[in-house]
C-alpha cells in the first residue's frame, strides 16, 4: 500500500480484546525462565526477589499487553503460572 498508514483506526477504542489476569504462584517457581523466554509479548521478566526455592520468580511488567495465549501456563513445568480472562462486565 502506498499511502502511509499513520492514523489510529477509528474503531480502535471499540475493539474489545479480552483482558488478562496473570497469576504467579511464586514459591512453586524454580526459575527456569521458560515463561519469560517464550512469552510472545514480552510481558514477563525475572524479579529481584528470591522465593522459598531460592529462585527468582517472574514478575509482570505490563498486564495489559498480555494476549491471553496462555502459553506460559502450558509451558510451566511447575504449574506456577496461569492466566484467566478478566471479568470486564462492570468495566476494566
Amino acid at each position: 500500500m502506498p499511502l502511509r498508514i499513520w492514523r489510529k483506526p477509528l474503531d480502535a477504542d471499540k475493539v474489545k480484546l479480552p483482558r488478562a489476569e496473570i497469576h504467579i504462584i511464586k514459591d512453586r517457581c524454580k526459575g527456569c525462565g521458560f515463561c519469560i523466554e517464550l512469552c510472545p509479548r514480552d510481558v514477563l521478566e525475572f524479579s529481584e526477589e528470591l522465593n522459598e526455592r531460592g529462585a527468582h520468580p517472574p514478575k509482570v511488567t505490563d498486564e495489559s499487553r498480555c494476549a491471553l495465549c496462555s502459553f506460559c501456563q502450558a509451558v510451566c513445568p511447575d504449574f506456577a503460572i496461569f492466566t484467566v480472562e478478566k471479568d470486564c462486565a462492570g468495566g476494566c
Binding site: P2, L3, R4, W6, R7, L10, L17, A67, C69
Partner: protein, 809 residues
C-alpha cells in the same frame, strides 16, 4: 531454442548471375513532376547487373505489379528494385508481388524517390533527377548483395499469464478464459479486486463499485479456465513471445480451502492492526479477510503480526476456534512454474502520498484526509458504516473542502494529470449532498476536466446542487487548535481576490502514480517506462496495448492513469491482442535477425551487453555467443558493437551498407551528406518532411537502418573515407527508442567518434547527431539546411585529410 548459426560462407557469394530489374515510378506527377523518370530509368539500365529498366506511371497498380511479375519470369530476374515512394508505404506490396512470381521477398529493394526526393525538391528538377539516379544506384548496389532469407516460425503456447488482479486483470482473465484459453491470474494481495474494490461509487453513473465488481470477482474465482494465484508474486520471466517460462512465488495463507470464512477465528484472535484495505481507518486481526467480498474468501494469517513464530505455536486461539480445522501453520511458500505464450501486465497504480506537501498538513492535522480515505469513510461497508465522520471527533462535518490536483500537474508532485481526480471529486461531492444536503461543499481546482461521456452532465448537476467551485488551490491549510477546523488560504484566480475560508474537513484529491515495484516488472519483462514512470506502449496511437516486447500487453493504470471504463476497455483489448497470437498458434519473425559467424566469435560478450532484449547470451563452455532468435527484434546494435565481424545483420549487412555508401559517393562526394536514419523515427520523419513538402537541399543521401544502433562507427568512417563533406546519424529521441534503449549505444558511439575526430584534428561538426520523431519532419529538414552550411565551409584539403586519416582504419 535452435541457434542461428552460419558457417564461413560469405553472405554475398552467389552461385548464379545477378539479374536486376529496375522500375522507376512516375506516381502520376508526384515524382515525374520534379524528376525526369525516363532519364533515371535510362541511367539505371547502365548500372552493373541491371538487365531490365523501365519507367511507368503507377508501379503499385495491378498492371505495374503484373509487369514486374512477368519480367521476373521472362527475364529470369533474381533481384527487383522499385524506385517510387517510401518503403514504409509500399515495400509490403512489392514484396508480395515478388513472392507471387516465385522470388524470395528479401531479394526486393526500394529507392525512395518521392518522399525523400521529388516532394522535397519540387523546384530543382535537374538536381532532383541527379539525386534520384544516386538513390537508384544505391538501391541497385544493395540489391546485388541481397540474399534470400527464410522467416523463422515460433510456436505459441496457448496459455496466458495475467499479472495483477484489479478490474483490468480480472476483465482480461475473464475474456481470455471465455475464449477458451487457460489463464493464470497472479495477484500480490490476499484478494483480487484491486483499487475498484476500495471505492464506494463509480462516476458518472454512481453505480456501487463493489456491487458491480463482486460478480466479476467471483466469476474469476470459479472460472474453469482461470487459475487464481493470490498472495503470489512473479519472481522470474524467461523466454520470448509464445514461450515464456514464469516462476511465481506462492506465499502461504496458513488457512486451507476448508475455510468457510465464518470469521470465528478472527473473533478469537488477540492481535489487532490497522486494515490496509481501509487505509488504516479500521482494525483487523492477525487472521483476517481484507474485506467481506474478498475472492478467494479464505482467511489469511499475517505472520508478521501473529504471535506464533517460525516452528513454534504459542497461541492456538484461532486453531481452537476453527471448527473446520482449516488452520495450518505448517504451510510453506512454494514456487510455481508456469509456461505461457502471452503475458498481460495489469499491475495497476499507487496513490500519491501527500505528506511531503507540508503546506496542506496531511499527517499533522487529523481532519485533512485523502480521497481514498474518503472512499472508505463514505462506504457503507467501511469503518464508519458509511457515515462521513471527521477523524478528530467522529462527528459529521458541516462544511467540506476538496482540494484538486494534489500531487498532479505540479513540479512538487507529478507533472502529469492523473485523469480521474476531477470526476472523482464531483462524484464524491454529490455523494455528500445526497446524504447530508445541508453540508457546505467547496471544490478548489486548477481546471475541471470533465471530458468523458456523461461527465459534463455530472459536473453541471454538482453545480446545480450548490457545490461551489473556486479556481485557485489553497496556498496553505492551517488548523484551528480548539475546534480542529481548518482554514484555507489562497487566491481565487478568476476574481483576482484572496480567500480565507473555514471548513470542518478537507479532502485532498490525490493523484495516481506508478507502482513502486514497477521497476521489478520492467526488468522481468524488458519493458520501457515513460519519464512519468508508467509502462510504454509500442505505439501511442496504433498499438496502444502492445509493448515493445513481443507477446506482452498492457492494461489499466500500469500504462497510464485511467478510470474504470478505460481500464476495462483496455483489458478487453489486451485479451483480443493476446488471443490473436494464441489463435494463430505461431508467429513469424522478420528475417532481419543476426547470424553468428562462429569462426570470428571470441565470446567476448560485448554483443550481449548491448542487446536491449537479452536475446544474446554467451555460452562460456562453447566459447561463443548464442542468439535467441524469437527474442531478437532485429535492431542490429549487436552487429554494430562486434569488433570481430562475427555477427551478420541479415538484410542490413555491413557489405550492403558499404555498397550504399560507395554508390552514393562515386561522384561529387565532397558536396554530399550521408544520413543514416532509423526506420521508425528519423526515416519516418524524413518521409513526413516529404509528405508536408518541406524543401531542403538536394545533396543528402539517406541510408535506412532499422535502428540508429545499427550504425557502426566504421560506416561513418567509410563515408568520410569516401570523401563526403558531412555525415548525419539520426534516430528516435532518447527514452523513445523503438528498441527500448538501443539508441543510447548510438549516442555513445557518436560521442566516441567525435572524440576521435577531435584527436585527429578534424572538425567534429562534420558528424551530426539528430533525435527526431516521425512527426518532426521540420526538424529533419532544418537539420539538413543547417548542415548545408557545414558542407559549404569544408575545404578540399580537409576532406583529403579526413580521407587519409579515416581511410586507413
Amino acid at each position: 531454442m535452435k541457434l542461428s548459426e552460419f558457417s564461413a560462407q560469405t553472405p554475398y557469394s552467389h552461385d548464379e548471375e545477378v539479374r536486376i530489374g529496375v522500375y522507376v515510378c512516375h506516381c502520376g506527377l508526384n515524382i515525374a513532376g520534379s524528376v525526369d523518370c525516363e532519364e533515371v530509368a535510362k541511367f539505371a539500365s547502365t548500372l552493373p547487373h541491371v538487365v531490365v529498366s523501365k519507367d511507368n506511371r503507377y508501379t503499385c497498380s495491378d498492371q505495374g505489379q503484373e509487369l514486374i511479375k512477368n519480367d521476373i519470369r521472362e527475364h529470369k530476374l533474381n533481384r527487383v528494385v522499385v524506385a517510387s515512394c517510401s518503403p514504409r508505404l509500399h515495400e509490403p506490396t512489392f514484396r508480395k508481388a515478388c513472392e507471387e512470381a516465385g522470388l524470395n521477398k528479401y531479394l526486393f529493394e526500394m529507392a525512395n524517390i518521392r518522399e525523400q526526393c521529388s516532394w522535397v525538391h519540387l523546384y530543382e528538377r535537374e538536381k532532383a533527377t541527379e539525386k534520384a539516379k544516386d538513390l537508384v544506384k544505391m538501391a541497385v548496389a544493395k540489391a546485388a548483395l541481397l540474399t534470400p532469407e527464410e522467416e523463422s516460425e515460433v510456436p505459441i503456447i496457448k496459455k496466458a499469464l495475467v499479472i495483477g488482479g484489479g478490474v483490468a486483470g480480472i476483465q482480461a482473465a475473464l475474456d481470455l478464459g471465455d475464449t477458451g484459453y487457460q489463464v493464470y491470474l497472479v495477484e500480490k494481495d490476499p484478494s483480487v479486486g484491486g483499487r475498484m474494490a476500495q471505492i464506494d461509487k463509480t462516476f458518472p453513473t454512481m453505480d456501487c463499485s463493489i456491487c458491480i465488481l463482486a460478480p466479476k470477482m467471483s466469476d474469476v474465482g470459479r472460472h474453469p479456465n482461470i487459475e487464481l494465484l493470490t498472495n503470489s508474486e512473479v519472481l522470474e520471466v524467461k523466454g520470448y513471445i509464445g514461450n515464456f517460462r514464469v516462476k511465481v512465488l506462492r506465499k502461504p495463507r496458513y488457512v486451507t480451502e476448508e475455510c468457510t470464512s465464518c470469521g470465528d477465528c478472527a473473533k478469537a484472535c488477540p492481535v489487532t492492526a490497522p486494515n490496509e484495505f481501509d487505509v488504516g481507518l479500521a482494525t483487523r486481526r492477525a487472521i483476517y479477510t481484507p474485506f467481506a467480498q474478498a475472492v478467494p474468501s479464505t482467511y489469511i494469517i499475517d505472520r508478521n503480526l501473529c504471535l506464533n513464530k517460525e516452528n513454534i505455536i504459542l497461541c492456538d486461539k484461532c486453531i481452537k476456534a476453527c471448527e473446520r480445522r482449516a488452520i495450518n501453520f505448517d504451510m510453506k511458500p512454494e514456487t510455481v512454474e508456469l509456461e505461457v505464450g502471452t503475458v498481460i501486465v495489469a499491475t495497476g497504480a499507487d496513490v500519491y502520498d501527500p505528506t511531503s506537501l507540508t503546506n496542506y498538513g496531511y499527517g499533522k492535522f487529523p481532519n485533512v484526509i485523502t480521497s481514498l480515505e474518503f472512499e472508505r469513510l463514505i462506504n457503507a461497508g467501511g469503518p464508519s458504516g458509511g457515515h462521513l465522520i471527521r477523524p478528530s471527533d467522529l462527528q459529521v462535518p458541516e462544511s467540506v473542502a476538496f482540494v484538486q490536483c494534489v500531487g498532479s500537474r505540479s513540479d512538487k508532485g507529478h507533472l502529469y494529470c492523473s485523469n480521474v481526480c476531477c470526476m472523482n471529486t464531483i462524484k464524491d461531492s454529490l455523494l455528500i449532498k445526497e446524504h447530508w444536503p445541508a453540508t457546505k461543499i467547496y471544490v478548489f481546482y486548477v481546471d475541471v476536466r470533465a471530458y468523458g461521456k456523461g461527465f459534463e452532465d455530472l459536473y453541471k448537476r454538482a453545480k446545480k446542487e450548490g457545490i461551489i467551485f473556486i479556481r485557485g488551490l489553497p496556498a496553505e491549510i492551517i488548523e484551528d487548535r480548539k475546534t480542529r477546523n481548518l482554514w484555507l488560504f489562497g487566491e481565487n484566480t478568476l476574481q483576482k481576490e484572496l480567500y480565507k475560508v473555514n471548513f470542518g474537513m478537507v479532502i485532498l484529491s490525490v493523484g495516481i502514480e506508478p507502482r513502486r515495484d514497477s521497476e521489478a516488472i520492467q526488468r522481468l519483462l524488458t519493458l520501457s517506462r515513460n519519464p512519468d514512470g508508467f509502462f510504454m506502449e509500442a505505439h501511442p496511437k496504433l498499438r496502444p496495448v502492445d509493448t515493445p516486447t513481443g507477446g506482452v500487453f498492457l492494461a489499466g493504470c500500469a500504462e497510464s492513469p485511467k478510470d474504470i471504463k478505460d481500464s476495462v476497455t483496455q483489458a478487453s483489448a489486451t485479451a483480443a491482442r493476446a488471443s490473436i497470437l494464441m489463435a494463430k498458434g505461431r508467429v513469424t519473425a522478420e528475417a532481419i535477425t543476426p547470424r553468428l559467424i562462429l569462426e570470428n566469435c571470441t565470446a567476448c560478450g560485448l554483443c550481449a551487453r548491448v542487446c536491449p532484449y537479452n536475446a544474446i547470451s554467451v555460452n562460456k563452455e562453447m566459447k561463443r555467443a548464442e542468439v535467441i532468435e524469437a527474442a531478437c527484434a532485429g535492431c542490429g546494435t549487436c552487429g554494430a558493437e562486434c569488433p570481430f565481424g562475427a555477427l551478420t545483420m541479415r538484410h542490413f549487412t555491413d557489405e550492403q551498407v558499404y555498397a550504399q555508401v560507395d554508390a552514393a559517393t562515386e561522384q561529387d562526394a565532397d558536396k554530399k551528406i550521408i544520413a543514416f536514419c532509423c526506420n521508425w523515427c528519423a526515416y519516418a520523419g524524413a518521409d513526413f518532411a516529404g509528405v508536408s513538402r518541406m524543401q531542403y537541399p538536394t545533396n543528402v543521401r539517406i541510408i535506412r537502418t532499422m535502428c540508429s544502433g545499427r550504425v557502426a562507427p566504421k560506416f561513418v568512417e567509410r563515408a568520410f573515407a569516401r570523401g563526403v563533406a558531412a555525415v548525419l546519424v539520426a534516430g528516435c529521441h532518447l527514452g523513445d527508442c523503438h528498441y527500448i534503449n538501443a539508441n543510447y549505444q548510438t549516442q555513445r558511439r557518436v560521442e566516441k567518434l567525435w572524440k576521435k575526430m577531435e584527436r585527429l584534428g578534424l572538425s567534429k561538426d562534420r558528424l551530426q547527431l539528430l533525435w527526431a520523431t516521425a512527426a518532426e519532419g521540420e526538424k529533419f529538414a532544418s537539420k539538413i539546411k543547417e548542415m548545408q552550411v557545414i558542407v559549404n565551409s569544408v575545404s578540399e584539403e580537409e576532406i583529403e585529410k579526413t580521407r587519409g586519416l579515416l581511410g586507413k582504419g
